[in-house]
Symmetry: D2
Subunit: 345 residues, 4 copies
């Protein structure tokens, strides 16, 4: 089996499911419970969310990160609104115009060096308020960590939140990998999100050991009033909900989210250490979480991919992306580094 | 645990996951494979679909039945079209206007006695072709078995397909419980669908022992050309696809779909036999698959629900729905029948 | 010219523009004014609306009746809502699924004998509140006069409004021909609409002597907060607004709306009198405004249409519709009645 | 009256209606004709379009430029597509996210110096074909003249069309002011559009002497097959169509489009000559059609606006826009230039 399912560095989505998650799914598999979320597994999971993020929140499970992002943003906007995001944001690049289709809104993508929105860049888009010809800015969406593996500091996020408050905008966080951020910042999930003033969070676990399912966590409950209808109408209400809920319950118990994320981050750092002295590998972004972006000579890409599959991020510069995940093993790193050294030195 | 997860007759969605399905999920949980469907589990599942339905089909997995119905219909329509369906159809009653929102189309619901569309009723809606003020009829959606547990004969479906062909309409089948229909008709899945001329099928397994995931099976491949983009944009592309694929692979192997469905149907028949001679229970629809609709005295409903949860279908007449599922046990039936007899005779 | 532009009974949309309206358009044609509505012609028109309907209203001009209906309803709903209307309503039959596409909502069409919604029929649809699988009822749309030319009494409308209030629904009135209703009821525009508790009105004039343009009148200003953005995004903001505004100003001055409507109604009554004693013409609806619905022998339809064009309403019964308009002349009626008598007696 | 309706330089939309257009509207105002476009005025207008653009085209009238742009683009795209345009394009800046809402598509705005898309800039967006995570590029929308008053050469447009053909994209032209372009290029309407390979054109006249109404001209008839339904569903089918048709008939007869456009262009050139030697006015874009963009000292803006209203284009640089129109008079220019000279020298 191993020959076919070799662990590589293509994506944390290529990894499997953590055994504790799988066990939780299996343990939930007994008898009948009411479908669509009115069950004790879901109640238990919601209690876990409150233990993690504090009381007075609303949490809704959907199937995946695209849905969490799109429907979260939809809850905060009307179709005549615009949403500021980094040009590299998942909502801008990787969701096949789902935000435009389902929110109706205009995205205002901001070019960045490192995936991070900055106040001055956002401000350029904050005009035309009250002018009906202009899509009305209403939300800022930030990704933590960014698509480039970099981290906002708490202060940077707070500055964005302050800007948003000034202009009556809401702040959404795409937290598909928020666990990796929290672990890297030696913080906790609440400090990284709610305490900074974020209005709503796409809370993902699939890239960190879960099977499927993502949570939309509303810290600003004014946004969630009708969300149950939006979720159902948007084809995102799971019938056998217990199998998502049991996963989240396990994911947020015993600090599994943190253990997995910390491991993945560590593996990325290990990889970075291994390649730092290979002159023909030039790392292009700070390695702060579980991804490494690097420029390597184009002629070696295909051969390397055969051994350990990964993606080319930018063909024009031969920049590649290497992702580690909860199940990456030190020996994977060692073998890969050796391979790189053999080829590139 | 049993005290909380008692098996009841509320919904086949309240049941758990068949052990063979869970084992398949677990077996797939090794190493890395490419995300989003380019993996050997998905390829194996697609081969299984071809073995079941024949070659020259396109199959796409989505998360649930609502998505399969809505996106399937979207692939066959433009926003200015209309879709004929039974008034009781899931797309009309239970999907919170998702078809209207995502297809843009008008539903043309047809009142029926038994959940079954008939040619004469459909014909009333087939006018106004070419008249731009009128939403243009383009699809007929039938549910097999119906929401009322009844079955179309093959001839009845063929007549609808013939009508559709005459008017250049496509025929969609909501097959959330198609396995129950095929088992009840002593037919196979292909004979029940493709061989009758259906253009596309929502093929469900969740109500019959799967955990999540539904397949859209395009027999008419002209409809699927751009479907991969529609799926992604509609927030229905699963990242760790192998966990849906492995389920379908198991579901369609060793006739698991049929075994489960036949069992559920048998249990419904057993229940029917048990209550046929209770005079204060009046069965309102033919018991042809795994659901029983019956009118019972309203004053007993709540007490009965406490022992075995089920739903009231029509409060005005005190009509209730009892669903059996793959895991219903003969002793569940026996106990429930005894309870009904105690209360109602 | 007359040979080509013969006045007939097909539609009040086939008529031209009243000379007073055309003069107002021409008078407005001088120099420059700010585009998009910030001009004195528009201000004057809005003052006229306040004089007619009272203070504390919001009025927005759009291009046509479909836009007034769809965008008005959109202002009162979210995509997961449903809207109750008569099966014959323009929004259900004649707008090519525009409400479904642009509101996202489900229409709940109610069969009627005479185009009029009744409380008991509406009530059947008012269930499932709070149940996320069910599109949430939010609006009732009534047409005054109905598409069949019949009239609601004030009491009938009040009863519908009361029902709406009980369930927190809003009431929209499609008033494409509200002038004909007000004239027929010897009422005024405010008494026919705002005083009955209507939340918002599609106020039309095109069928009664205007060239183009329709007003959405919000009596419930909670619904109009963001409407200017909705109008612009929905492609309904006219640049040279003065040419709509000047029309409305003229239409609502000197009781032109009433004079025109009363005349059209009178002409319909004259036609009715002329045909009452033709035995092979059977009038099917009360003649209360400016339309007559009648069943005539099918074999004469085409020949009659050649002389005076009109539409067949229901081919299966040979029911036709004859509309009169502000410019119908008594001699048109006389000639047409004579023709009918010659053919049908 | 003149005191209130003073001609200024704010917008060609602030101007009125050319007398020939108003006369055509008035002349059409006789008797009854079939509504919605099946009338002789509309037929005459369509013949005029064929005389102008050649045979084998499809032409649809809608109410305004936003609708022409949005619905034209909708006819060429599916919701999972993307559309490349200049960052300054009307569809990107001035339509309140209507393209996103109604097409569902992503806009890909390209920064430019002068409002003109260039092949190299477009190419950066032409990737990800076949990759379902990425909105699929399908259309390029160019504006001629641009929003900055500049002109594409025929060769520049041809190069864009060639690029589009290579990638199976369609090319849309926003021709709200195409008459000004054709006049400035000493070309004709067909040479400026169809002959360059444009697939479809938003053909506007309102900014050049018409009252309302815009035409979508399909040179690529594969795109127009279902357009009549799209137009109706999109609330853009005018009932008394003759009043749009008669305007277009007049606009395209006796070269009225050209006469008006040439005059407006001439007036802009005259204004440019007048201000060229005012040192504190810095013209920022080539003056090629009927608009002038200039930076002037901020402290004089308000006072100047009081005499002749105009808009500030960019507050941060105190760049203003002065538009001329068909009815601008040489004395307006003279007075305005004198005023500028008095203030700024």
């Amino acid at each position: 089996m191993r020959a076919d399912n070799t662990r590589g560095f293509a994506s944390d989505n290529n990894s499997g499911v953590h055994p504790d998650i799988l066990k939780a799914v299996s343990d939930a598999n007994t008898g009948h419970v009411v479908a669509y979320g009115d069950d004790r597994y879901t109640r238990a999971a919601l209690i876990r969310f409150e233990a993690t993020f504090g009381k007075d929140i609303d949490v809704f499970f959907v199937y995946n990160g695209t849905a969490a992002n799109v429907l979260g943003l939809k809850s905060a906007t009307r179709s005549f609104n615009s949403i500021v995001c980094a040009e590299t944001a998942h909502i801008n690049v990787d969701e096949c115009a789902a935000p435009e289709k389902f929110c109706g809104c205009k995205l205002l993508p901001v070019p960045t060096k490192d995936g991070k929105l900055r106040v001055a860049d956002i401000e350029k888009h904050l005009h035309g308020f009250g002018f009906e010809h202009h899509a009305q800015p209403k939300a800022i969406s930030i990704t933590q960590p960014t698509e480039l593996g970099t981290l906002y500091t708490h202060a940077e996020i707070k500055a964005i939140v302050d800007l948003a408050r000034e202009h009556d905008l809401i702040v959404h966080m795409d937290g598909a990998r928020i666990s990796n951020a929290a672990a890297a910042l030696n913080s906790d999930l609440k400090k990284c999100t709610r305490d900074l003033g974020i209005d709503l969070l796409s809370f993902g676990g699939t890239k960190n050991g879960m099977m499927f399912g993502e949570a939309i966590v509303f810290f600003n409950r004014a946004l969630s009033a009708n969300f149950k209808y939006t979720r159902k109408q948007s084809m995102q209400l799971n019938s056998k909900m217990r199998y998502i809920s049991a996963q989240f319950e396990a994911y947020m118990s015993n600090a599994l989210w943190e253990k997995n994320a910390r491991h993945a981050n560590d593996m990325a750092r290990l990889l970075k250490q291994g390649i730092d002295d290979i002159p023909r590998v030039r790392i292009t972004q700070k390695v702060e979480t579980n991804g490494i972006f690097a420029i390597i000579p184009a002629q070696y890409v295909q051969e390397l991919q055969k051994a350990f599959f990964f993606y080319v991020w930018d063909e024009s510069t031969s920049e590649v992306r290497w992702m580690t995940s909860f199940d990456t093993q030190p020996e994977d790193i060692k073998t890969f580094v050796q391979l790189l050294k053999n080829k590139l030195t």
